[in-house]
C-alpha cells in the first residue's frame, strides 16, 4: 500500500487537506493499554465480615434436641388472666398472671402465650410493684426459656444419665442422712423469697438438724444489712420511697439503675416527677457519684466524686444540720454542691431523702440516716422492713468461706447447690471448685450445665420459671404465685420438686407443694387460690412498716484514701452477675450508659485516658496485690478521674453466646484499689453509638420550670403540601424526656414483640444492629463533668416522609391512619429510604439474620409479626399488630377504639410511663394532651418532615431554684 499512500499524499499537499494531514509524520509512542487499566482499578481492601459472629448471636452452633415443633401445651391447672374461652383459639393470645424471679425477687408479669408458646412477658398492671411495667432483665428472661443450651438431662460427671439413677442415689443418701441427723449435708441456694421453698427448707432442716443451709447470691443486700445492723441493731431492708421524696440527695447510690428493685423505684420516682410537672411540690435530685448512672443522669446537679470522697461529703452535709461535728476539708466545687444539697433538703424538710449507697462503709450510711432522722424524713421517705430475701448467715461471704473450709477438710459429704453458680460468680470460685472434689456427693441443680455444674459430680436440670409452679415476693413485699405458661420442654424438674427429691421424697409435684404452702397461710385454699391465679397477687395480711429505732451513730473509722486508682466492681447493667450472659437479647442490649454491647470494659475517666494515652478498646491490665485482670478500656465522660469501674458477669467459661464475651473480674472483687498498665493490645469493642457529644445542637431540649407555663402552640413550618385532614383513628406518640431514665427496657421489649434478630458483636461494630428502637445517649459540655441526656428514638412516622419519596416500588407508604408502613414483601432493598431518613431509624437485613436461628428460638417468635427475610428494610411500626388487634376488638364490640386500647410494646414496658401513644385525632387522648404541652417539640424540626413522634423537653431547673 505504501506507494499509493505516498502518492496520495504528494497529490494532496497541493490541495485543501494540508492542516489535516500534517499530523502524519509526528508519530508519538504512548504507554500501552493495560497500564491504563491498572490505574483504573486500585488495590483491594481486606475482607472483614464474618458470618460466624452472626450465627454466634443465635448460639446457633448447637444441634438442638427435640424442640423442633416442641409440643408446647399449657398446664391445664393454670388460670388465664381475666376471662378467656376455655378452649384455645389459634391466633388468639392467652395471658397468664405469673411471676419470674430475678435474684430471688419475684417480678410480677403477665405471660403472653400464642398457641401454647410463651412469646412475651408483660408487667402485671394490677400489681403495685409493676403497674404493667418490667425491666429489661425480665423482658430478656423469656429468651432463656428457649435457650438451646439449656441443660436437658441429668448428668453424672458430665455424662448424661436418666432421672432414675439420680433419684436412686438421692434416696440412698437421704436414708443415710436420716440416720445421721443430716450430719455433713449442706444446702447452698441462691437468694429466694419463695414461701414454698423456705417452707421446704424449714421442713428439711427440722428433719436434719445437723445439716446447714447457706445462701449464695453474687449481688446481695449484705452490705446494707451490715450497715442497718450497726445503725439500728438489726438487719433491715431500706426501700427509698421516691414518690414521697420532694428532695433526694444520693451519694453513690443508683435507685433508678438496673437491679431487682429498678421497676418499683422508677415507678415511685416518676410518680413524684409527674406530680412536680403538674405543679405539685418539688422533685429535686442531687447526686454525687464516681461514675455516671441512670440516677446521676436524672439529677439536677451531679457532682463527680471518688468513692472515698463520699464520706467527707456526707459528713459536710451532716454538719450543716448539726448531726456531727466532723469538719472535712472540701474543694470549692464540693462545698457549693453540699450547700445546694443542704438548701434543697431544708426547703423540703420532712419530705427529703438522703441516700447513701450500700457500697459505702456502714458509718457513712448511718450518717445519712441520721440526717434524715434529724430532718424528720426517716420514716416518711424510707421504708424499713424485715429482709425480703432471708439469709441464714449474717455474713454470706464468711459463710461461703466456712463452707469451702469444711469441704476441703472433708467435713461435707453431701452438697446440694440449687440455682446458684458460686464457681463462676464468687471470688473464691477456684477454691470452691477444688474443694468440691472432696465432697462425696456434690449435686448441682440449675437451668444450665454451667461452671458449677461441671465442677459438681452430679447435675440435675431445673425447669425454667415459666415452666413450673412457684411463688415469691415482689420488690414491695407482696406475695405472688408463679404459674407455668407451658409444660416443660425437656425432662427437667421444678426447683421445689428437686428439693423434695433431695429430701428423699419423689414424684411430688410443684403444684401441690405450692398449694400446701398457701393452704397453710390461708387456712383454706379456695377461693383465694383461683383469685390469685387470675389476678396474680396473693392476699396476705398487710405488712406493717417497721418504725426504725433511733439511729446509732458510729465512731468514724478513719479510713486511709486508697493508694493508686480506686476500683469499683459493679454488676453489669444488662447481664447482671452473669445470669443473662447466654442471652443474646441481654448481650446486644446497649449498656445504658456506655452503649457497649457484647462486652464489659474497664471504664476510666477522660483525664486518666489522656494520662496513659489510652483510647476506647485499648487493653489494660488492672493489678492489685498479686491478682490481675486484663480488659479493654472505655473512656467514660463524667467519671471521677481517680476511679476505675469494671462490671461483673462476663468472662463466662461456658455457653456459645456467653463464653467469648468480656473478661472475668472475680479476682479483683474485694480489691479497693488497683494499678493500671496498658498492654499495648487492642480489643474491638462494639458500641451501639459512636459519638455522644451534642454541644451546639438542640436534639435534646432542656427548659426551665418557668418555661413550662402554657403558651399558644406555635405553627408548624410552612410546607408545599397541604395537611390532610386527620381521620380517626390517626396514631401518634409522645416521649417525655423528663421522665425517661434510659433504662432500655423498651429496647428489649421491642425485640421480644417484633421478632428482632440479634446480629452479634462484629455486625454491631459494622453499624448493622437491628434494634427498631434505640436509646440515644448524649453528653453535653465538659467531658470531665458533662450533662447526661438520653433519648429513645423509634420511627418518627413523618407526615411528609422522605423515605417514602425514595422508594421506587411503593414498599414505603403512608397508611390512612398515618402510619409510615414498610411492606416487607414488596421491598427490593434499594436502601434509598434509609439514605433519605434523617433519623436513621431504618434497619436493613444485610444477611439472612433470621433463617439460621435455632429452632427453639424460632418458637419464641410473635406469630403476629412477620419474620423478615434477607435483603429487606425494616423499622418501627408503632406495633401495628397491636393496633390491628385493637381495631378488630373494637369492631367486634362495635365501638370506636378507646384511648389506651392500643399500647405499644415500648410504652407498655416503660417503668416511668415516659412514652404515650394514641389517636392524635381524639382531643381527649392523653397523647394529645402531652403534645399540647409547651415542652412538646419534634426532633430535627428544620428537616420539616412533620414527625408524629414528638418529645417533651427536659425540665432543667427546679421551681424556685436559682
Amino acid at each position: 500500500m505504501t506507494t499509493g499512500w505516498k502518492k496520495a499524499l504528494a497529490q494532496l499537499h497541493g490541495q485543501g487537506g494540508r492542516r489535516f494531514w500534517r499530523g502524519l509524520d509526528e508519530l508519538a509512542d504512548s504507554p500501552d493499554f493495560r497500564k491504563a487499566l491498572a490505574t483504573e482499578f486500585p488495590g483491594l481492601a481486606s475482607l472483614d465480615w464474618q458470618r460466624r459472629d452472626v450465627l454466634r448471636a443465635f448460639g446457633a452452633s448447637l444441634a438442638l434436641a427435640g424442640l423442633a415443633g416442641c409440643e408446647a401445651n399449657p398446664d391445664d391447672r393454670a388460670m388465664p388472666y381475666v376471662v378467656d374461652p376455655e378452649h384455645l383459639v389459634p391466633g388468639h393470645p392467652q395471658l397468664y398472671a405469673t411471676a419470674i424471679s430475678f435474684a430471688g425477687i419475684a417480678q410480677p408479669v403477665l405471660g403472653v402465650t400464642n398457641v401454647g408458646r410463651p412469646t412475651k412477658l408483660e408487667g402485671n398492671p394490677d400489681h403495685p410493684a409493676s403497674r404493667g411495667a418490667t425491666d429489661a432483665f425480665t423482658q430478656a428472661a423469656l429468651l432463656d426459656l428457649y435457650d438451646p443450651e439449656r441443660s436437658q438431662v441429668p448428668r453424672q460427671s458430665g455424662i448424661p444419665i436418666d432421672w432414675d439413677s439420680l433419684d436412686a442415689r438421692l434416696a440412698a443418701q437421704a436414708a443415710i442422712l436420716d440416720a445421721t441427723q443430716g450430719e455433713g449435708f449442706r444446702l447452698l441456694t441462691g437468694a429466694t423469697t419463695s414461701p414454698t421453698l423456705l417452707r421446704q427448707i424449714d421442713l428439711l432442716f427440722a428433719r436434719w438438724p445437723a445439716a446447714r443451709w447457706d445462701v449464695f447470691e453474687p449481688v446481695d443486700d449484705s452490705a446494707l444489712h451490715a450497715a442497718t445492723r450497726a445503725a439500728f441493731g438489726r438487719r433491715l431492708d431500706v426501700m427509698p420511697l421516691l414518690d414521697r421524696a420532694h428532695a433526694t440527695i444520693a451519694f453513690d447510690a443508683d435507685p433508678l439503675g438496673p437491679g431487682p428493685y429498678q421497676v418499683l423505684n422508677s415507678l415511685r420516682w416518676s410518680g413524684r416527677r409527674r406530680a412536680f410537672q403538674q405543679g405539685d411540690g418539688r422533685a429535686d435530685l442531687l447526686v454525687a457519684e464516681p461514675s455516671p448512672t441512670l440516677t446521676g443522669g436524672r439529677s439536677l446537679d451531679r457532682l463527680v466524686a471518688e468513692p472515698s470522697r463520699i464520706r467527707a461529703l456526707v459528713e459536710a452535709l451532716a454538719r450543716i444540720f448539726g448531726v456531727t461535728r466532723e469538719a472535712p476539708a472540701l474543694t470549692t466545687k464540693e462545698a457549693q454542691w453540699v450547700e445546694r444539697a443542704a438548701k434543697i433538703l431544708a426547703a423540703s424538710k420532712g419530705r427529703g431523702l438522703v441516700l447513701v449507697g450500700s457500697e459505702q462503709p456502714a458509718e457513712t450510711q448511718a450518717l445519712g440516716w441520721a440526717i434524715d432522722e434529724k430532718l424528720g424524713n426517716l420514716s416518711v421517705t424510707s421504708q424499713f422492713s424485715e429482709p425480703l430475701r432471708p439469709s441464714p448467715d449474717s455474713d454470706p461471704e464468711q459463710a461461703l468461706n466456712a463452707l469451702i473450709t469444711d469441704m476441703a477438710a472433708g467435713r461435707v459429704n453431701m452438697l446440694a447447690i440449687l440455682d446458684a453458680n458460686p464457681v463462676y460468680a464468687s471470688r473464691q470460685g477456684p477454691a470452691f471448685a477444688a474443694a468440691l472434689h472432696k465432697v462425696e456427693l456434690s449435686l448441682h441443680a440449675g437451668l444450665w450445665h454451667d461452671e458449677t455444674g461441671h465442677a459438681c459430680r452430679w447435675h440435675a436440670p431445673l425447669a425454667h420459671g415459666l415452666e413450673s409452679w412457684s411463688d415469691g415476693r415482689a420488690a414491695d413485699g407482696t406475695a405472688v404465685i408463679g404459674q407455668p405458661l407451658v409444660r416443660p420442654f425437656y425432662t427437667v424438674r421444678p426447683v421445689h420438686t428437686m428439693l423434695a427429691a433431695i429430701g428423699g421424697a419423689f414424684g411430688i409435684s410443684d403444684h401441690d407443694l405450692v398449694q400446701q404452702t398457701w393452704t397453710e397461710t390461708w387456712g383454706t385454699l379456695q377461693p383465694n387460690w383461683n383469685q390469685t391465679l387470675v389476678k396474680g397477687i396473693a392476699p396476705e395480711p398487710p405488712r406493717v412498716a417497721l418504725q426504725p429505732p433511733p439511729v446509732r451513730l458510729l465512731p468514724s473509722v478513719a479510713f486511709a484514701r486508697p493508694t493508686g486508682l480506686e476500683l469499683l466492681v459493679r454488676p453489669d447493667p444488662t447481664i447482671w452477675d452473669g445470669r443473662l450472659a447466654n442471652n443474646p437479647w441481654a448481650q446486644e442490649q446497649p449498656k445504658p450508659v456506655t452503649t457497649l454491647t457484647w462486652d464489659n470494659a474497664v471504664l476510666i475517666a477522660p483525664a486518666l485516658a489522656a494520662e496513659h494515652d489510652l483510647a476506647d478498646g485499648d487493653e489494660v491490665r488492672l493489678s492489685s496485690d498479686g491478682v490481675s485482670v486484663t480488659g479493654a478500656v472505655w473512656v467514660m465522660p463524667g467519671q471521677a478521674s481517680n476511679t476505675v469501674l469494671v462490671h461483673r458477669g462476663y468472662g463466662r467459661r461456658f455457653g456459645e453466646v456467653a463464653h467469648d464475651a468480656g473478661f472475668d473480674v472475680a479476682p479483683l472483687m474485694d480489691q479497693r484499689s488497683v494499678t493500671l498498665t496498658p498492654t499495648g493490645k487492642r480489643r474491638k469493642l462494639a458500641a451501639a453509638q459512636e459519638e455522644h457529644a451534642i454541644d451546639g445542637t438542640d436534639l435534646v431540649r432542656v427548659v426551665d420550670y418557668l418555661d413550662t407555663a402554657p403558651k399558644p402552640p406555635k405553627k408548624p413550618a410552612p410546607s408545599f403540601w397541604e395537611d390532610k385532614p386527620l381521620t380517626r383513628p390517626n396514631w401518634g406518640m409522645s416521649i417525655d424526656l423528663d421522665l425517661c431514665t434510659g433504662c432500655g427496657a423498651c429496647v428489649t421489649a421491642c425485640n421480644a414483640e417484633n421478632n428482632i434478630p440479634m446480629v452479634g458483636r462484629e455486625e454491631v461494630r459494622n453499624g448493622r444492629r437491628m434494634h427498631w428502637l434505640r436509646v440515644d445517649r448524649y453528653y453535653e459540655g465538659d467531658p470531665a463533668d458533662p450533662k447526661l441526656h438520653v433519648q429513645p428514638v423509634p420511627c418518627m412516622h413523618c407526615e411528609d416522609a422522605p423515605c417514602e419519596m425514595g422508594c421506587p416500588v411503593n414498599a414505603a407508604v403512608h397508611s390512612p391512619e398515618g402510619l409510615n408502613l414498610q411492606v416487607y414483601n414488596r421491598c427490593v432493598g434499594t436502601r434509598t429510604c434509609s439514605s433519605f431518613c434523617p433519623y436513621k431509624v431504618r434497619r436493613f437485613n444485610w444477611a439472612d439474620y433470621t433463617g439460621g436461628a435455632p429452632e427453639s428460638m424460632k418458637a419464641q417468635r410473635n406469630p403476629n409479626v412477620t419474620v423478615r427475610a434477607r435483603g429487606v428494610m425494616e423499622k418501627c411500626t408503632y406495633c401495628i399488630q397491636r393496633i390491628s388487634a385493637a381495631r378488630i376488638a373494637a369492631k367486634v364490640a362495635d365501638h370506636p377504639i378507646a384511648d389506651g386500647a392500643v399500647t405499644t410494646a415500648c410504652q407498655q414496658v416503660c417503668p416511668t410511663a415516659a412514652i404515650s401513644f394514641g389517636d392524635i385525632a381524639d382531643p381527649a387522648a392523653e397523647v394529645v394532651k402531652r403534645k399540647a404541652s409547651p415542652r412538646n417539640y419534634t426532633l430535627l424540626e428544620e428537616a420539616n418532615t412533620r414527625p408524629r413522634t414528638s418529645y417533651s423537653a427536659r425540665i432543667g431547673k427546679e421551681r424556685g431554684d436559682g
Binding site: 410546607s719 403540601w721 416522609a801 411503593n810 403512608h814 397508611s815 390512612p816 412533620r946
Partner: protein, 178 residues
C-alpha cells in the same frame, strides 16, 4: 411505494462531482428509474435525483408525541389505579412525571425513526440484482455508480442508454439483470 425497476445499466464514475453531472444528464435525457450509489452520502446526488422524502422527521415527531402522551397516561393511570399516600405529596404530580415523560419521548421518537428507516429502505435485503455485478462491491469503497432502467423488449433504447452513460463519462458500464 412501488419497488423501483432493478433491470438496467450501471455506470461507474470517478468522483461524486462526475456522478452528479451524470445524474443530471441522465435525467435531462429522460431516462427512467434513475438511481445512484455512493460509498458515502453525497448531498448533490440526492438533490440531482430530486429526492424529496421527509417521512423520517415526521416519524420522529409522531414517536415523540406518542412517547410523551404514553408516559403521562401511564403515570397518571397507575397512580389512579392504586392511589397511595406517598410522603404526603399530591397523588398526581405533573412535575414529577415530566422526567419519565421526557425519556419516553426520546425513546419512542428515536425508535420510530430507526425502524421507519429500515422499513422505508426495505432493509434488511440480502439478495439484490446489483450484488451480482462484481464491480458493484466498490460502491461501499470508492465507486460512484449511476443506475438507469431499461426494458428488454426495446433493444434500441438500451443501446441509447449505454451510449448516454458513456457520454456522461462512465469509466465502465455493467448490465444488471433484474
Amino acid at each position: 411505494m412501488a419497488e423501483p425497476p432493478s433491470r438496467g445499466l450501471l455506470g461507474e464514475y470517478g468522483t461524486p462531482e462526475r456522478l452528479v453531472a451524470a445524474v443530471r444528464g441522465a435525467r435531462d435525457a429522460g431516462m427512467k428509474g434513475i438511481n445512484a450509489f455512493t460509498p458515502f452520502p453525497v448531498d448533490d446526488v440526492a438533490e440531482a435525483l430530486g429526492l424529496q422524502d421527509n417521512r423520517i422527521p415526521w416519524l420522529g415527531l409522531i414517536g415523540g408525541v406518542v412517547g410523551l402522551g404514553g408516559a403521562y397516561a401511564m403515570q397518571i393511570a397507575t397512580n389512579l389505579d392504586y392511589p397511595l399516600n406517598i410522603g404526603g405529596r399530591p397523588l398526581i404530580t405533573l412535575q414529577a412525571f415530566a422526567l419519565i415523560g421526557f425519556e419516553l419521548t426520546v425513546l419512542f421518537s428515536v425508535s420510530f425513526m430507526v425502524f421507519g428507516l429500515f422499513v422505508l429502505n426495505r432493509l434488511p435485503r440480502y439478495n439484490h440484482p446489483l450484488f451480482d455485478v462484481d464491480r458493484f462491491e466498490r460502491a461501499t469503497r470508492d465507486g460512484f455508480f449511476l443506475f438507469v432502467a431499461i426494458d428488454d423488449e426495446d433493444e434500441k433504447a438500451a443501446q441509447e442508454a449505454r451510449a448516454l452513460l458513456e457520454r456522461l463519462g462512465a469509466k465502465s458500464i455493467d448490465e444488471v439483470r433484474g
